[in-house]
Symmetry: C2
Subunit: 212 residues, 2 copies
């Protein structure tokens, strides 16, 4: 197909597709002449993935490029992707006091140790979690109880996630599933959490659900 049809099928404007091509988010089409290229289904799928990672996952272009590069590697390594390539969802800015982060980091390392989680000592997720924990402290909230409860929940969720990944046919599909489940899973969990928070709040404060 030509670029116009790729655009039609995905709803992405042609100039935007060209931009993604330039940014390396989309492989170039097969050139049939100096100014004609042919695209196929793989481009449609890739383009849809990019839009979803952008709009739902809210990942920056640069992060998506890295993620797709990991997806396209000839030696699929799901563990590597789950452990390293995926962004931590926590923004890079460090608004929190470094000392508080260090304290929180000790706490996280202790949590990981106690629970016997097999997580690399330098895993970015450790630092990311420590930063969030420090943020709780920064706003004067005691996240102690919440941390243990959430850790239980996270174990359950990760189990479901790995099941989801394991359901894929081949290694490539598993890699793809790992990316989708991780990034979209965050959003799915967050929005379901909002739903259930409203429900629990309605129960607790005795408000009927069909008003508001």
């Amino acid at each position: 197909m030509r670029i116009a049809e790729l655009s039609r099928l995905t709803g992405v404007p042609v100039p935007t597709i060209k931009y993604y091509l330039r940014e390396g988010l989309l492989p170039a089409g097969e050139l049939t002449s100096p100014n004609q290229a042919r695209y196929d289904d793989s481009h449609v799928r890739r383009l849809r993935l990019v839009r979803v990672l952008l709009d739902i996952g809210r990942l920056p272009i640069a992060t998506i490029r890295q993620l797709l590069a990991a997806l396209d590697r000839p030696d699929p390594d799901v563990h590597q992707v789950l452990g390293r390539a995926l962004p931590s969802a926590v923004g890079g800015k460090d608004s929190v006091d470094p000392e508080a982060v260090r304290t929180a980091r000790v706490r996280i390392d202790k949590l990981v140790g106690e629970r016997g989680w097999l997580v690399g000592r330098e895993a970015p997720a450790r630092q990311a979690t420590a930063e969030v924990l420090a943020a709780f402290a920064q706003v004067g909230a005691d996240a102690g109880v919440l941390l243990e409860q959430y850790a239980d929940v996270a174990e359950t969720v990760a189990g479901h996630d790995l099941d989801f990944v394991g359901r894929a046919r081949d290694a490539e599909g598993m890699l793809y599933a790992a990316v989708v489940a991780s990034i979209l899973g965050d959003s799915l969990l967050a929005s379901l959490r909002r739903l259930t928070q409203e429900h629990e709040s309605a129960k607790k404060f005795g408000i009927r659900g069909d008003d508001c």
Copy 2:
């Protein structure tokens, strides 16, 4: 205290504080003369909250302004904040096919009904969840199983969240706790999820945790 000390205590540059004042994220200090104002602890706390919502929660300025306005209302209504004021974490852009969203919305409404969740028919979280579900479909992933599993998890999490909120001393504290728990909770859960995903992946693929 003067603005310089407010800056020192929070690590936020003075021009940035002035910007937040202009944007209504921070109440004006008490004017002691036409060009002198006095700030206090409440400004320090508010400023820290703003930074954490910005950097960890990744909320846009406009959303933070609305959220703080809800916090400052004289009639604290925790349920209203949990149900309406909180952003849905899902980006506003609609990259997904509207038809797919409509289908997903039916599914979510069914889920809410089956589980007896007391959630307003027009609750934004319904639409947000539907959009995420449609995004799964868009990238060719079947989120069926995951949805039910995550719904179970979300019920548990929301229970913990409401406990957390209930631990606050007064209505104002509960409102504050609701905001903090919701926004930072998303990030805490997401980063703990990354940790446990790496763990589960290490178990499944037989990789030792201390290498990588």
